[in-house]
């Protein structure tokens, strides 16, 4: 290599060293950061309360000023102030190390907080480049201090526990989750209506207790998880629930899975209507009486008819609840209508149109026995 080339290379590498070193301004060892696992925001007495669950990665820590459970895997802190940033600033004053927001599993908002500050906080999350963008958002009906204390006593991370629980329920077709980006998109659209999972405590354990209804920019209702089966059928792709169907003195337990759902909007003479078609696959699992059941074609037809009616009524009630009780399209029928009638949707006020839309429900159930059981036999020895 020529001498000039070598000098050039040496110059380049010498100048690279400070450049590399400078890039380390962003590097921080893991033990030098306070890793937040979940954040909870509450509003009480006109003040914002800011709770943070931090991973205790440095081990035992029994300094004063922390919660009494500071030797556990997770430590929780809280602060309060007139505004969100004031409460956050006060929390920073308690932390020994820089807060790291890139690992937050769950963002918990109390109903009181969400009613007034849902938009503000979600927009803050969107703008903050340090925040974990896959963070799950939930509402809670429990006092956050109680929620964190109980979990802390059990040495459980609130953030991880809620995230994993909701993901499992979603995978199992028992519930549904909404990504933060989808909530933000909904909040930025001309019409806003969606549901946020609501978390509570059951037997001192975190549990999904229902769904909070977001209408516009505030929360205006709650649907308990017990009444949400049809909602799950309307909103998720592979829901699966068990039903008990009484037939000729026997109570049959049937596993019901949704195979296909079709929502067909139409618009005629200024009237919005939807045709909802559901195809279910049902499996007879067992009855509460002694076998044999002699579950022949006539029995199959009878049970199918009862189950179809149950499902149809549940779905009808779920749609009516959205239309008449909450007057909020958290079922996302607006998306279906907008895709088919984009021009018409632009010119209408969906808040007024949705409650008046007519809905026709068609339910088909195909009932069969499970492969390993023969309930048709009438033989007993």
């Amino acid at each position: 290599m020529k001498k000039s080339g070598k000098i050039f290379l040496i110059l380049v590498f010498t100048l690279c060293i400070p450049a590399f070193a400078a890039a380390c301004a962003d590097s921080k060892d893991i033990h030098e950061q306070s890793i937040l696992m979940s954040i909870c925001l509450d509003k009480k007495d006109d003040e914002i309360y800011y709770y943070a669950e931090i991973a205790n990665i440095t081990g035992s820590n029994k300094d004063e000023g922390k919660s009494s459970s500071a030797d556990r895997k997770y430590i929780f802190y809280y602060s309060h102030g007139k505004t969100i940033h004031e409460a956050r600033r006060k929390l920073y004053m308690q932390l020994e190390r820089r807060a790291y927001y890139g690992a937050i599993r769950t963002l918990i908002l109390t109903e009181n907080f969400a009613k007034e500050h849902l938009v503000e906080y979600l927009y803050r999350l969107r703008t903050d480049e340090l925040y974990r963008k896959k963070t799950m958002i939930v509402i809670t009906t429990v006092d956050p201090e109680k929620l964190f204390k109980i979990n802390n006593e059990n040495d459980i991370s609130v953030g991880f526990s809620i995230e994993e629980m909701l993901e499992t329920l979603d995978e199992e077709g028992q519930s549904f989750t909404r990504t933060t980006s989808r909530m933000l998109e909904n909040l930025s659209s001309s019409y806003t209506g969606f549901l946020i999972p609501c978390i509570g405590l059951r037997n001192n354990k975190n549990s999904l207790v229902g769904y909070s209804v977001v209408n516009g920019t505030t929360i205006n209702g709650f649907i308990p998880v017990e009444d949400s089966k049809a909602l799950v059928f309307l909103k998720t792709d592979k829901p699966r629930f068990f039903y008990t169907v009484p037939y000729k003195g026997n109570e049959f337990t049937i596993e019901t899975s949704l195979k296909k759902r079709k929502i067909e909007p139409s618009y005629e003479d200024g009237n919005v209507s939807f045709d909802l078609k559901f195809d279910f696959e049902a499996k007879l699992l067992y009855g509460d009486k002694k076998t044999p059941y002699n579950f022949d074609d006539i029995s199959n037809e009878g049970v199918t008819k009862i189950l179809t009616e149950i499902l149809k009524n549940e779905i009808k009630d779920a749609v009516l609840e959205a239309q008449k009780h909450f007057k909020c399209d958290y079922l996302q029928f607006d998306d279906e209508f907008r895709v088919k009638f984009p021009e018409e949707f632009e010119s209408m006020d969906w808040q007024n149109e949705f409650p008046e839309a007519s809905v026709n429900i068609d339910v088909k159930v195909v009932l069969s026995g499970s492969w390993m059981m023969d309930f048709e036999t009438d033989v007993r020895k």
């Binding site: 050039f8 380049v12 100048l15 450049a19 400078a22 480049e129 933000l184 930025s188």
Partner: protein, 360 residues
């Protein structure tokens, strides 16, 4: 021949140069103008620029073994050739400043919020200067390797995004109300499809006979690639979020879950952003090649250092000017039309006229 490139390298040279900054800003620009019907203006633009690429490659094929500066002397005379070369040198320095500011802002806002911007800039310019010093043939070879990784990682990332996204965010693919935004969208697409002019610093040989066809197909591929990026981003973020975010594609990647890969954004930072690095390298190289021909008596490495210093100073000055990126974007629009289309088209027509005159 040592100073030549293959047709495959032309493909990757075009892909890496054109996609430089586009992946970051295109989803927002398209969502804002053409909405959910973005694929129509993107594919129309890819066909138009496909024709432009055919003009440039045919021009290069007319003068085998020569670069634009050399054959422009035959077409337009010595004075005009120096004038055009000076224009291109300044143009590529301008584009270099624009890209480096984008690069610095992207790194600061997404990955290195506490690192001083002048340090990122210094590191970047040193790297690009070193690569540019190696010449266009070596760079084309490097682009071939980076290009494969870039296209592969970006396509795989987009496939994950498509599978995870919400279909309602992109539907309907065509809405009559979006048509009025097509003109604005086509204007926004001029800069993303600009960059074909880097072929002017590449000498073509006998093995580049098929280059016009390859270049046209490459532009169609780039069009489809842009459609994939825009649609997958909108599917993840939704149209309103995409409009609000300047770096929508990266934000969408941050949200996407991929099996095994916990941090898809870091994977994209490693491979996906290689197009941004490659773009800055080729722009530096183009400015260097024109400068070396204008100042033919000055040694190449001195010109490299001089351009590097000029770029660094200009970037530092630009960092302190409010809304500089908007200003640069505004000028880029006209400069790309002049550099990608008007000058090559004029040279092509002149070359054809001269050829006919000589024959007759």
């Amino acid at each position: 021949m040592a100073n030549s490139i293959t047709n495959r390298q032309i493909f990757f040279l075009l892909v890496m140069t054109l996609t430089t900054y586009t992946t970051i800003f295109l989803p927002k620009a398209m969502a804002e103008t053409a909405g959910r019907s973005s694929m129509v203006p993107i594919m129309c633009s890819s066909v138009i620029f496909g024709v432009v690429s055919v003009i440039i490659t045919k021009l290069n094929n007319t003068f085998p073994g020569k670069v634009f500066f050399d054959y422009s002397q035959e077409i337009a005379g010595r004075f005009f050739s120096y004038l055009i070369a000076s224009y291109f040198m300044l143009y590529f320095i301008f584009v270099g400043v624009f890209l480096k500011l984008t690069f610095v802002n992207l790194m600061t806002s997404n990955f290195l919020p506490r690192t001083p911007r002048y340090e990122i800039l210094l590191f970047g310019i040193l790297l690009f200067a070193y690569a540019a010093n190696k010449g266009v043939t070596n760079i084309a070879r490097m682009f071939e390797i980076y290009g494969i990784l870039f296209v592969l990682v970006t396509v795989v990332t987009c496939v994950f995004m498509l599978t995870e996204g919400t279909k309602f965010n992109v539907l309907p693919f065509f809405a009559p109300s979006d048509i009025e935004g097509y003109t604005e969208a086509m204007k926004e697409l001029i800069v993303p499809f600009g960059g074909i002019e880097v072929l002017l610093i590449v000498p073509f040989t006998e093995k580049n006979k098929e280059a016009p066809k390859i270049a046209f197909l490459t532009l169609l591929f780039i069009g489809l690639f842009y459609v994939l990026i825009v649609e997958s981003t909108i599917m993840i973020l939704g149209i309103n979020n995409t409009i609000l975010l300047n770096d929508a594609f990266i934000e969408a990647i941050k949200i996407t879950e991929a099996p095994v890969i916990e941090r898809l954004d870091i994977l994209y930072l490693t491979f996906g952003l290689s197009s941004l690095f490659c773009g800055m390298i080729i722009v530096f190289t183009a400015a260097l090649e024109f400068a070396c021909r204008i100042f033919s008596r000055v040694k190449r490495h001195i010109v490299v250092v001089a351009i590097g210093v000029i770029l660094y100073i200009l970037c530092l000055l630009a960092l302190n000017i409010k809304d500089i990126e908007k200003l640069l974007e505004f000028f880029s629009f006209y400069l790309v039309i002049i550099s990608s289309f008007l000058i090559p088209a004029a040279a092509f027509i002149l070359a054809k006229v001269k050829k006919r005159t000589n024959i007759s």
